[in-house]
């Protein structure tokens, strides 16, 4: 279903009041840009979207960010969460549950788990961190390094220790990335960030790394 939205409505929501706007409570334009680029956690994204729905000046700022984002290439959507995919997910979950039950009945006693906890099960070993896990990095030069398949470009995602997105960058040709200091404003000194790299191979296939950990000084 593609909604038939009149262009005049799109123009009208960004029309500024003739007698001026009160912008004292408006968010920083950088946050609006980050919201449009999908760099914010859902909660903050929602707050900014709700504000733009009620504030013509921020609606205009949002629409301009959409325009700019289109011109430089919109970030790739990881999953479009279409319903048939959800059903595949349910089917897969049921299958896993059935297998788990079968194993449970065949092996009544299981050895305790002794391996160290991981943020995510290793998915692919094609991309490796070149930093030691938990390495302390200076805030003004928070450079993440990795190695991956030759000829690949890389997408990187950085989050805080609660897995709230801090920064995302796509289409990196090199295998280092310096996280902008302003993206780390919410991370306290000694705070932990987690990061993950996805290699995009020339044939379009993707290889996701483990989730790595670093400390921001």
């Amino acid at each position: 279903m593609k909604p038939d939205t009149p262009q005049s409505w799109k123009d009208a929501v960004v029309a500024l009041p003739p007698d001026g706007c009160d912008t004292a409570a408006c968010p920083d334009p950088d946050r609006i840009w980050s919201a449009v680029r999908g760099e914010l956690a859902p909660d903050e994204f929602g707050r900014l979207a709700d504000h733009a729905a009620a504030c013509p000046a921020c609606a205009l700022a949002w629409q301009l960010a959409e325009k700019g984002s289109t011109e430089i290439g919109r970030p790739q959507i990881r999953s479009d969460r279409r319903p048939w995919r959800a059903w595949y997910g349910v089917a897969a979950a049921m299958l896993v549950a059935a297998v788990a039950l079968a194993i449970q009945f065949r092996q009544p006693e299981q050895a305790p788990v002794t391996s160290p906890p991981e943020y995510r099960a290793p998915v692919d070993e094609a991309v490796h961190s070149e930093l030691t896990d938990g390495a302390a990095l200076p805030r003004n030069d928070c450079t993440l390094r990795w190695s991956g398949p030759a000829g690949a470009t890389f997408d990187i995602k950085v989050a805080d220790e609660n897995f709230q997105a801090v920064y995302r960058e796509t289409g990196l040709a090199g295998s280092t990335f310096t996280v902008p200091p302003e993206a780390l404003q919410g991370i306290p000194a000694g705070g932990v960030i987690v990061w993950q790299v996805e290699a995009v191979l020339p044939d379009g296939t993707r290889k996701l790394s483990r989730t790595f950990r670093a400390t921001v000084e």
Binding site: P3, T5, P6, S8, W9, K10, D11, A12, V13, V14, A15, P17, P18, D19, G20, C21, T23, D28, P29, D30, W33, S34, R37, G38, L40, P42, F45, G46, A49, D50, A52, A53, A54, P56, A57, A59, L60, A61, W62, Q63, L64, A65, E66, K67, G68, S69, T70, I72, R74, I77, R78, S79, D80, R81, R82, P83, A86, N140, E169, P180
Partner: protein, 168 residues
């Protein structure tokens, strides 16, 4: 050392694209403001030596929005009378069209108030140019859920606007 000519070229292109038509006379000033912002970052060693185009566009967007807010701030009185006269002439030229658009925008915002919060958000994002898959991804909601919210929200918005005398 950043290549300032290259940076300036990107900023000129970005500002030209982002700057609303009624602010075209301020484009050079905006490019300058963006350059100054980057220079201040470099002084504090916060600027990547080779900033990506996406970052430069973000800076261009930021200075443009700051300028829009400054120009259209409520109750702002210019120190330069000539600037005021220009503004009045511009206002006269487009007053009718702008007022009609503003009234429609206001009606849409009033109708938003009658929508359930998630429907309101999805409809507003649609009007602002955010695609359905992006809205789903960035809100952490399912795609089919968002599609449904938009369908129902738009239906309700049409009904509400029709009640106020605005037909699409």
């Amino acid at each position: 050392m950043p290549d300032y000519e290259e940076i300036r070229a990107v900023l000129v292109r970005a500002i030209a694209s982002l700057c609303p038509g009624w602010m075209t006379d301020r484009r050079d000033d905006l490019v300058q403001s963006a350059m100054m912002k980057l220079l201040r970052q470099e002084e504090k060693s916060e600027l990547n030596p080779a900033p990506k185009a996406s970052y430069l566009w973000k800076v261009a967007h930021s200075v443009t929005v700051d300028e829009i807010r400054s120009v259209r701030r409520k109750g702002e009185v210019s120190l330069d009378p000539a600037e005021d006269e220009t503004a009045v002439r511009l206002e006269d030229a487009r007053a009718g069209q702008d007022r009609a658009m503003w009234e429609l925008g206001n009606a849409i915002r009033e109708c938003f108030e009658t929508l359930e919060s998630r429907r309101r958000r999805v409809v507003a994002l649609n009007l602002l140019g955010h695609s359905l898959p992006e809205t789903a991804e960035h809100s952490g909601w399912r795609y089919d859920q968002v599609r449904n919210l938009l369908y129902r929200g738009m239906k309700q918005l049409r009904f509400c606007l029709a009640g106020k005398g605005f037909a699409p």
